[in-house]
């Protein structure tokens, strides 16, 4: 069950904005900074997703172990 759908919109928004920043920086000829910005966006999204996953595993643990 998804309790809070706003996290989906948050991740989607971050994706769109990182893509925009990447394309603008690339257009201006700053390839390395563009790659770096994309990497940072990816890491941030990864952290959010891992938080959600850890919640999921905690819940499974609480269902089966206790």
């Amino acid at each position: 069950m998804l309790t809070d759908p706003s996290i989906l919109f948050q991740i989607a928004g971050i994706g769109i904005i990182v893509a925009l920043i990447h394309s603008i920086l690339k257009q201006m000829g700053k390839e390395e900074i563009a790659q770096f910005a994309t990497l940072i966006g990816f890491i941030i999204v990864l952290v959010i997703v891992i938080n959600g996953l850890s919640n999921l595993f905690q819940q499974i643990k609480s269902v089966f172990l206790f």
């Binding site: 948050q10 928004g13 904005i17 925009l20 603008i24 920086l25 941030i44």
Partner: protein, 170 residues
């Protein structure tokens, strides 16, 4: 409350982006002003053969801010006390740096130029002014390139980074 904070954040980063792009746009203008001022100074020195102090006053009268206050400050400082000219020049250049959008390169050029000012005869002085003008022309090209490249990007990046931070915190 949340939305007010979000709006404030986006507004602040947008403003920062616009300020950055404004500095990029103003830099070539200020370099051009300094070039004009040096050309007027050359005319005053070589043709009118004025003393430096009066020449500075004349230049200040013909050039808008912030270069106006630079030359007027030089004139006022030279009228007030009789210390080493290079010290006066240096402190005024530093004050000009705070008020305008010039970079470190222009500061070095002006320092170098100030060292030669008032040390030579007309002919040599004219050569030194031409040298400073050539250096400034090079910097002007550079600044114009940078303006074309980055001024739009600075604005867009300001807005986008604001939206990004808001999305992260929401």
């Amino acid at each position: 409350m949340k939305w007010i904070g979000a709006l404030l954040l986006v507004g602040a980063t947008t403003w920062a982006g616009f300020e950055w792009s404004h500095r990029l746009i103003m830099r070539p203008k200020h370099i051009r002003l300094i070039k004009n001022a040096l050309q007027i100074l050359e005319a005053e020195i070589v043709y009118s053969q004025m003393p430096l102090r009066d020449a500075f006053q004349r230049v200040a009268g013909q050039i808008p801010n912030p270069v106006h206050s630079f030359f007027y400050g030089l004139y006022a400082a030279m009228k007030e006390k009789h210390i080493d000219f290079y010290e006066v020049w240096k402190s005024q250049v530093d004050r000009l740096m705070e008020r305008s959008c010039l970079h470190r390169n222009e500061r070095e050029i002006l320092y170098q130029f100030g060292r030669t000012l008032g040390q030579h005869d007309f002919y040599q002085q004219q050569k030194h002014i031409q040298l400073a003008l050539t250096h400034l022309e090079r910097e002007l090209e550079d600044a114009r390139d940078e303006q074309l490249k980055y001024s739009k990007m600075a604005k867009t990046l300001g807005i986008l980074s604001g939206l990004f931070i808001v999305l992260l915190l929401i």
